[in-house]
Amino acid sequence: MPTAARTRQLGLTLVEVLIALVLLAVVLLPIMIGLAQALASTSDSAIAAAATSVAREKIEELKGLDFAAIADQERETRDLNPGDGFFELAVSVETVRPDDAAHSGLKRAVVTVYRTGGADPAAAVTTYFTPFGI
C-alpha cells in the first residue's frame, strides 16, 4: 500500500507539472512577444526624443545665421552616440516674402530628422524666420 500510494502521488505531480508547463507556455509566449515589442517601442521613443533634440538644435543653429543665409540644406549626419552617424538631418526652406529695406522678409523652414538610411522622419519641426526676429 505504501508503495502504491507513493506511485499514485508521483503520477499526479507529473501531470501537474506538465499542465503547469503547458499553461506557462501558452500564456507566456504572447506575453514575451508583447514584451519584445514593448522594449522595441521604448527604444523607438528614446530615438524619437533624441531626434526632436537634434531638430531643435538645428533650428537654434539657423537662428544664428543671417536671414539671407537661411537656405535648403542637403542631408547631413548627426550622432546619437559619438561617431555613429545615427541620424540624418535635412532643412527645407521656402521664401514666403522676400526681404526688403524694412526687414519684412519671411522664410518657412522645415527641419526633418531621419534615422540614417531611413525614409520615414523620426522628427520634424517647422517655424518661420524673419530678420532680427526671435
Binding site: 506557462l24 531643435r56 514666403v96 526687414h103 519684412s104 522628427a123 519641426v125 517647422t126 517655424t127
Partner: protein, 472 residues
C-alpha cells in the same frame, strides 16, 4: 491522518507554484509595458512641446514680418493667425498684442498650437515676447518739424530744440494754425512715403559706380547688356583727384566724385565700424544705415582720405558725392544733390540754394519726381542767420528733403520739404512748408497737391514704404 493530510497538501504544489510564477511574471511584464507606454507618451509630448514652441515663435516672426511690410503705422489685424503644419500634425499660431506704452513698446503674445485639428488646450503652448515696434515718438514724419507751442497738439516735440518764440517757426507759410500740419495731405496722418536716405539705392549711378563687393573689395563690374563682358562706366562720370574747391570742376550734368590719395589696400571695415572716417590707408565705407553688421554698400576706391569740398560763389549743376565733408559758402547755388559721407555745413547762408534734379523733367508738374536735396552721413549745420524775407533768395533755400544721419541744426532758412534726422534743432525764423514756387516752371502750392519730393521713382520691389526712423 497527519501523514495523509501532508501528502494531500503536497499534491498541488507544482500547479500553485506555476501560478505564482505567472503572477510574478505578469507583474513584471505589466511594469515593462507601462514603462514603454510612458516612454512613448513622453517622447510624443516632447516632440509636440517643441513643435508648439516653434509655432509660437513662428507666430511672432510672421507678425513682425507682416507689420514691417505694412508699415508700423498700419498694423495687421489682431489677432494675427496662421496655420503651419508640423510633420504630420496640423499646427497654428495665434498672436495678440496690446496698446503701445508711452515709449512706443508693444508686447506681442503668441500661442503655438500643435494638433490644432484636435481642439482642446493640452498641446497649446504660449510664448510671450516683448518687441519694440517704435510706434510712438520716432516716426520719420515726426521729424518734419513744426512748432507753435501755444496751440494744442503743436507742442514742441522732445527731440527738437527750438530757438526763438512761438510763431517764429512756420508751416505752410502760416503761423499758428495747427490744421496746416495735422490735416495736411502729406502730414503724419496722410501716411505718404518719405524719400529713402539710401544714397546707393535711389540713384542708380551711385550704386553702379561706387558699390564694392564686400568679399573681393573690387568694383562690381557694370554689365547692363548681360553679355558677361564688363561695360564702361557711366560716360558722364568724372572721377577727380583730390581738390578742395569745386569751382574748377563744375560742369553741367556731370557726376562729381572726390577721393583722397591713390593708395590701395584691402578694407577692414570691422576695425572701423564706429569711425566716421576710415584711416588713410583703407577704403572708406558708408555709414551703416540699416544697422547691419556690414555696411549696405562699400565705396570701392583706391583711396580713402576724407577731406572737405567747398562750394563757393557760383552755380553748380550735378550730383556731388563727397567722400568727406561739404562746406557751402554764400551765393553758392547747387542744382542737384549733395551727398556727403560726413557733414554738410552752410556758412554765410545769404543767397544760397539747393535745388535737386528732376528725375522726369519732361513730365507734367503733378507727375514730376525730385530727388532729395541733401544727404549727410553725419550732421547738417546751417551756421548763420539768414537775411531777407521768406520767399526771396536772400537766405538759404533748400527745395527738397534733407536727410541727416546724425543731426540737423538750422538757423533761419527755408526748407521747402522736410528735415529727417534723429536730432533736430531749429533757430528762429526757420520756415518749412510743403509747397514751392517756380521750380522748373512748376508751382506747388501748399496743401493743393502732394509736392514733388514726396513722389519717388518706381524702383520695383525696392519701392519704399512708410517706415520708422529706426527702420530707416
Amino acid at each position: 491522518m497527519t501523514t495523509k493530510r501532508a501528502k494531500r497538501s503536497d499534491d498541488g504544489f507544482a500547479f500553485i507554484a506555476a501560478l505564482l510564477v505567472m503572477l510574478v511574471l505578469a507583474i513584471l511584464i505589466m511594469a515593462i509595458l507601462t514603462m514603454a507606454m510612458s516612454a512613448r507618451l513622453l517622447a510624443g509630448s516632447r516632440q509636440e512641446y517643441t513643435q508648439a514652441l516653434y509655432l509660437a515663435e513662428a507666430g511672432i516672426n510672421a507678425t513682425m514680418s507682416e507689420w514691417r511690410w505694412r508699415g508700423a503705422e498700419n498694423p495687421p489685424e489682431m489677432p494675427y493667425e496662421g496655420e503651419l503644419a508640423n510633420g504630420s500634425a496640423a499646427g497654428a499660431y495665434h498672436v495678440v498684442w496690446g496698446v503701445p506704452d508711452a515709449g512706443g513698446v508693444v508686447t506681442l503674445v503668441s500661442r503655438g498650437i500643435v494638433n490644432a485639428d484636435l481642439g482642446g488646450t493640452v498641446y497649446n503652448l504660449g510664448r510671450t515676447v516683448q518687441v519694440d515696434l517704435d510706434t510712438d515718438g520716432d516716426w520719420a514724419w515726426n521729424h518734419v518739424y513744426y512748432s507753435d507751442s501755444d496751440q494744442p497738439g503743436m507742442e514742441d516735440p522732445p527731440y527738437a530744440d527750438v530757438k526763438g518764440g512761438a510763431g517764429e517757426v512756420e508751416i505752410d507759410g502760416e503761423v499758428g494754425d495747427p490744421e496746416d500740419f495735422l490735416d495736411h495731405p502729406n502730414g503724419p496722418s496722410g501716411g505718404v512715403m518719405l524719400p529713402s536716405p539710401m544714397w546707393d539705392v535711389w540713384h542708380e549711378w551711385v550704386r553702379e559706380d561706387l558699390s564694392c563687393d564686400p568679399e573681393t573689395k573690387e568694383l562690381i563690374p557694370r554689365d547692363p547688356d548681360g553679355d558677361g563682358v564688363p561695360d564702361p562706366r557711366w560716360p558722364d562720370q568724372a572721377t577727380l583727384p583730390a581738390v578742395t574747391d569745386v569751382a574748377a570742376y563744375a560742369d553741367t550734368d556731370r557726376h562729381m566724385y572726390w577721393y583722397g590719395s591713390s593708395e590701395t589696400t584691402p578694407l577692414d571695415h570691422t576695425a572701423h565700424a564706429a569711425d566716421s572716417h576710415a584711416a588713410n590707408d583703407e577704403n572708406f565705407f558708408m555709414p551703416d544705415w540699416y544697422g547691419y553688421d556690414n555696411p549696405d554698400a562699400y565705396v570701392c576706391n583706391t583711396s580713402n582720405k576724407p577731406f572737405t569740398v567747398t562750394f563757393r560763389d557760383g552755380d553748380y549743376y550735378g550730383n556731388y558725392f563727397v567722400h568727406g565733408d561739404i562746406d557751402v559758402k554764400s551765393r553758392a547755388h547747387i542744382y542737384g544733390t549733395l551727398i556727403a559721407t560726413g557733414n554738410v555745413t552752410f556758412y554765410g547762408v545769404e543767397k544760397c540754394s539747393i535745388t535737386p534734379e528732376v528725375a522726369n523733367p519732361g513730365a507734367p508738374c503733378d507727375e514730376r519726381v525730385y530727388y532729395p536735396a541733401i544727404i549727410a552721413g553725419a550732421d547738417v549745420l546751417v551756421r548763420d542767420q539768414g537775411v531777407g524775407d521768406d520767399d526771396s533768395r536772400e537766405r538759404l533755400r533748400v527745395s527738397g528733403v534733407v536727410w541727416a544721419g546724425n543731426s540737423y541744426t538750422g538757423q533761419a532758412s527755408n526748407v521747402e520739404a522736410c528735415v529727417v534726422s534723429p536730432s533736430v534743432r531749429l533757430g528762429g525764423n526757420y520756415l518749412t512748408r510743403y509747397g514751392i514756387f517756380n521750380i522748373d516752371g512748376c508751382d506747388y502750392s501748399p496743401g493743393d497737391s502732394p509736392p514733388p519730393w514726396f513722389r519717388e521713382p518706381d524702383r520695383g520691389e525696392m519701392q519704399p514704404r512708410p517706415r520708422t526712423w529706426k527702420e530707416l
